[in-house]
C-alpha cells in the first residue's frame, strides 16, 4: 500500500466535506459564476468569466495533482470513457445548462444567494435524477457499453509523455486567455 496524505476518515471526513464545500461555494459566488447572465453569455462569447475560472482551476489543479501523484501522495480518479454515454450526456447537459442558466454546482450556490430560478432548477434536477435511476438498467445494458474504453488518460491516447501533455495543457490555457483578452479588447 502506498503512503498517501489521506488521513481523514469517519466523522473527520464528513466534517471536511462541509468545510471544503463551504470554500467551494464561497469561491463560486466570489467568482461571479453563480449568475445566470454570466453563464449563458459564455455560450454567446459575450462573457468569459467562466472559462477563465475553469481553465485556471484545471491548469493549477492539474499540475499540482500531477506533482503529488508523481510522489505517490495523491491518487487519480479517472472516469470511464464511454463514448456514447459521455458524448450524449454532455450534449443533453449543454441544453439543460443554457435553459437553466446554471450547472449543478453553480445552481446550488445560486440558490443560496436568493435565486429562485435556481431553486426551481434544483426541483427539476431531483426529477432528472429520479428519471435516470429508473432508466438505469436499460441505459447500463444499451448505452454505457457503446464505445466503452475504460479509464483512459490523454497521455496514453495521444502516445505522449506526461510532461508534454501538461505543457500542452498550460499552452492551451495561455492561448485561450490570449484569445479571450483579444475578444474583450474589441468590445
Amino acid at each position: 500500500m502506498h503512503l498517501t496524505l489521506a488521513f481523514l476518515t469517519g466523522t473527520g471526513l464528513l466534517w471536511s466535506a462541509i468545510g471544503f464545500g463551504i470554500l467551494f461555494g464561497f469561491l463560486l459566488h466570489r467568482g461571479g459564476v453563480t449568475d445566470f447572465d454570466i453563464i449563458v453569455r459564455l455560450f454567446q462569447f459575450r462573457d468569459f468569466t467562466v472559462i477563465k475560472v475553469m481553465m485556471t482551476a484545471i491548469a493549477v489543479g492539474g499540475v499540482g495533482i500531477a506533482l503529488l501523484h508523481g510522489q505517490d501522495l495523491a491518487k487519480y480518479h479517472i472516469k470511464d470513457l464511454n463514448l456514447l454515454a459521455v458524448g450524449l450526456g454532455a450534449a443533453i447537459f449543454g441544453v439543460g445548462m443554457v435553459l437553466l442558466g446554471y450547472c449543478p454546482g453553480t445552481g446550488l450556490a445560486a440558490i443560496a444567494t436568493g435565486r429562485l430560478d435556481a431553486l426551481a432548477g434544483l426541483a427539476g434536477m431531483m426529477v432528472g435524477g429520479i428519471a435516470y435511476a429508473l432508466s438505469f438498467d436499460w441505459i447500463a445494458a444499451n448505452v454505457l457499453p457503446v464505445g466503452a474504453y475504460g479509464k483512459v488518460r490523454l497521455p496514453e491516447l495521444l502516445g505522449q509523455p506526461e510532461w508534454v501533455c501538461y505543457a500542452g495543457l498550460i499552452a492551451m490555457a495561455a492561448g485561450i486567455f490570449a484569445l479571450v483578452h483579444k475578444a474583450e479588447a474589441k468590445k
Partner: protein
C-alpha cells in the same frame, strides 16, 4: 454596494488549490452531480416507496441516498455561497436575468418553468455522462482524463447551439 467579485483567475487558481487539497487530504475529486443523484433518491422515497428506492440498481450501488462526503459537500457549497452573499450584501430573492428577459419577457412563471425543465435535462445528462461541470469539467480535465475533455468539448458545443436557438435575438445587444 461595492463590487464583491474577485478576479476570475484568482478564483480559478484557488479552486485549483482546493482540488489539490481534496485530492491529497481526503482522496476525493471535486464533484456535484453524484451527490444530487443521491438526494434525488431521498426525494423519490415518498413517491416510489423506500423498497423501490432500495432495490433500484443505481441508488443501491452508485448513488446511495445517505449523508456521506458527496452529499455533505453539497450542504457546504450552499453554506459557503450563502456566507459569501451575506458578507457582501448580495443576497436577494430574485428570478430575473437580463439575457432571459431580452428573449422571453419578464414573466416569472415562464422563467421558473423553463428553469425546472432545464434542471430535469441537466441532471439527466450529468448522470448519463457520469459527471458535470465540476466532476468532468474540472476534476476530469485536470487529471487529463479523456472522458473529462470529451465532456467539456461536447457540452460547450451543445451550449453554443442551444444559446443560439434560445437567445439568438438577444445577442445583438
Amino acid at each position: 454596494m461595492k463590487n464583491p467579485r474577485w478576479n476570475p483567475y484568482l478564483v480559478g487558481a484557488l479552486i485549483g488549490l482546493l482540488s489539490i487539497l481534496t485530492f491529497s487530504i481526503v482522496n476525493k475529486p471535486l464533484g456535484m452531480s453524484t451527490g444530487l443523484a443521491q438526494a434525488s433518491g431521498a426525494c423519490a422515497m415518498p413517491f416510489l416507496g423506500a423498497d423501490k428506492v432500495a432495490s433500484n440498481t443505481y441508488w443501491a450501488k452508485t448513488a446511495i441516498p445517505t449523508w456521506d462526503y458527496s452529499t455533505l459537500f453539497l450542504v457546504g457549497t450552499v453554506i459557503g455561497a450563502f456566507l459569501s452573499a451575506l458578507l457582501c450584501g448580495a443576497f436577494k430573492f430574485t428570478a430575473d436575468s437580463t439575457v432571459w428577459t431580452e428573449s422571453f419577457g419578464p414573466s416569472k412563471t415562464k422563467r421558473l418553468i423553463a428553469a425546472f425543465l432545464g434542471g430535469v435535462i441537466i441532471l439527466y445528462g450529468a448522470r448519463l455522462a457520469d459527471g458535470c461541470t465540476s466532476g468532468h469539467g474540472i476534476s476530469g480535465c485536470l487529471q487529463l482524463a479523456a472522458s473529462g475533455w470529451l465532456f467539456f468539448i461536447v457540452m460547450f458545443a451543445s451550449g453554443i447551439l442551444t444559446a443560439k436557438l434560445l437567445y439568438g435575438r438577444s445577442t445583438q445587444a
